[in-house]
């Protein structure tokens, strides 16, 4: 059990889920989808580093 590692994994999960959840309003608004995709990609990199 490593609390620091768990916090980073939690951050990765929250970031991935939040960014993908926000894609729906971003698609409707026609803006921001690229930033959100980068957010999901960043979450995946975090998960690889700390997963």
């Amino acid at each position: 059990m490593n609390p620091a590692r768990d916090r980073m994994r939690m951050l990765a999960l929250v970031l991935a889920l939040t960014a993908s959840a926000l894609e729906t309003p971003a698609l409707a608004a026609g803006a921001g989808r690229e930033v959100l995709l980068l957010g999901i990609a960043a979450a995946m990199v975090l998960a690889i580093l700390f997963g």
Partner: protein, 507 residues
């Protein structure tokens, strides 16, 4: 063409290599697969940001659909465990019989299946292997027996999370998938009992296996087809325990030893009894069912097209009926069970905090794997990669494809350590391949999940966890070899059963 197929398969091959070759966990390999899928989709299949964004927006709803159950199922297991329920059952059941074969059936088959139904996450082997060691089984056998014994219960176990993943990933309705999956897994149930006995060094007992297997398989089929699939594995295991108890009582070979007070046993099962009550109340009380159906999370998505011309039509995403979701039902049950245990004085100070933090930690790894793999599969589907894979598989295997379906499921579960992950990875691929070949997709998907259930107990992660619980860490290779001795013939049989079922269904 082969190059394009290999390119489309790259994310899956990468995950397999990272887990099997480099020993990565699924929670790290899944995100690597996501990045590979995004890169291949963008560079190789011409999927622009609109395609990727739509795929990830849809993937959120799909991931949430599975995660709600995984989180709530773990929370309920922790509530019961915190009240001493699992320990009480583990103490009471070994006292029921001194006969080795009956111990294998009752503990390695029925009790392990019950634990899979309510918990999963490796719990069945972790709890039962030490009990079997204590009863005189050698450590390798103590891991092999419950691993085989609970395999049939994996899909509808963990309160239905793997089955939820199958329906979510494939897009087929639960009503279409429940019967074929439950029937094929029901047949596997008899094999689980018979192989548990053989692995224990006993002869197959047709009467015991027949009676207990019929009770467990029929209960699972009835509950799954009846629409309460999230308690189908749990119900099957519970009925198996009850029938097994009556059978060993009839045999009259009880062990002497400490007994567990009736009050403690009642508290041990109160959470699961509440689950049955809550489930049936929500399912069969129309006014309540209607009231809980008022909050629906759903969105409409536009059509998208890749640079290569692959079109995904405009569609409504997955509808999540939040307050009536299986995850919500499990949460209501967890809260009620906690209240009862607390009123009965069965919880210790700080229990709620421990349950919350253990649940958070316990589901973190699987949540990352599920979220990343769901996103990856959505990318592959929207980029046309799944279509390329399905057409290639259909061309290579032809009408013999149903024979392969369980092996694909088993491979996914062996690699990822999870029937849920395997169903997420291959559910849509199996469906598309079946459709290209003109086969009934529901039976092919039943083969997928039955193979995945069996493959999950062979996975290096589960074998390691089981071996550690039985203090047999140095025997992991022997455990896997003994499991394979039974699993390979069973997978061949599952392939034939899938093929025969399709013939019988006229598909």
């Amino acid at each position: 063409m082969l190059l394009l197929w290999l390119l489309a398969a790259l994310p899956i091959l990468l995950i397999a290599f990272l887990i099997l070759g480099l020993g990565w966990s699924a929670s790290r390999a899944g995100p690597a697969g996501w990045l590979a899928a995004a890169a291949v989709a963008w560079l190789g299949f011409g999927a622009g940001t609109q395609v990727l964004a739509v795929s990830q927006a849809k993937a959120f709803f799909l991931a949430l659909d599975v995660l709600l159950i995984v989180w709530a199922a773990y929370a309920l297991y922790r509530v019961v465990d915190e009240g001493g329920g699992v320990a009480a059952l583990a103490q009471a059941i070994p006292g029921l019989t001194s006969d080795r074969g009956s111990q294998a059936l009752l503990i390695g088959w029925a009790f392990a299946s019950f634990l899979q139904g309510v918990g999963g996450f490796g719990v069945p082997v972790v709890v039962t292997a030490p009990i079997l060691v204590g009863l005189g089984f050698d450590p390798v056998t103590a891991v092999v027996v419950p691993s085989l014994g609970h395999a049939w219960s994996v899909t509808f176990g963990s309160l239905g999370s793997s089955f939820q993943a199958l329906t979510t990933a494939s897009g087929l309705a639960t009503t279409a998938l429940a019967a074929p999956s439950a029937v094929l897994l029901g047949l596997l149930c008899f094999a689980s009992g018979a192989t548990a006995l053989l692995a224990a060094g006993e002869r197959v007992r047709p009467l015991h296996v027949g009676i207990m297997g019929s009770a467990m398989a029929a209960t699972q089929v009835a509950l799954a087809v009846g629409g309460v699939w999230h308690i189908a594995g749990f119900g099957g295991g519970l009925v198996g325990l009850a029938v097994g108890y009556l059978l060993v009582r009839r045999d009259g070979r009880q062990r002497s030893g400490a007994t567990v007070p009736a009050r403690r046993l009642a508290l041990a099962v109160v959470g699961y009894l509440l689950l049955v009550v809550v489930t049936f109340t929500v399912q069969f009380l129309p006014p309540l069912r209607s009231a809980l159906g008022s909050v629906v999370l759903q969105a409409a998505f536009p059509a998208v097209e890749t640079g290569g011309g692959f079109v995904t039509s405009a569609e409504s995403g997955k509808a999540l009926v939040l307050l009536r979701h299986a995850g919500a039902i499990l949460l209501y049950t967890s809260a009620l069970a906690y209240a009862v245990l607390r009123l009965a004085g069965a919880t210790s100070p700080g229990a709620l905090r421990r349950i919350a933090s253990d649940t958070g930690r316990g589901v973190l790894g699987s949540s990352l794997a599920i979220a990343s793999m769901t996103g990856m599969v959505a990318i592959m589907s929207h980029a046309g990669m799944t279509d390329v894979l399905a057409r290639g598989l259909a061309r290579a295997a032809g009408q013999a494809f149903p024979l392969m379906a369980p092996w694909i499921g088993a491979l996914g579960a062996f690699v990822s350590g999870s029937n849920t992950s395997s169903n997420l990875l291959f559910g849509l691929l199996q469906r598309r391949t079946a459709e290209v070949l003109g086969l009934a997709a529901a039976w092919v998907l039943a083969g997928q999940t039955a193979g995945g259930a069996l493959g999950s107990v062979l996975s290096p992660t589960k074998v390691s966890v089981g071996a550690a619980a039985a203090s047999a860490g140095e025997f992991e290779g022997r455990i896997l070899r003994r499991l394979l001795r039974y699993a390979v013939p069973l997978l061949l049989i599952l392939g034939v059963l899938t093929w025969l079922s399709l013939k019988a269904a006229g598909g």
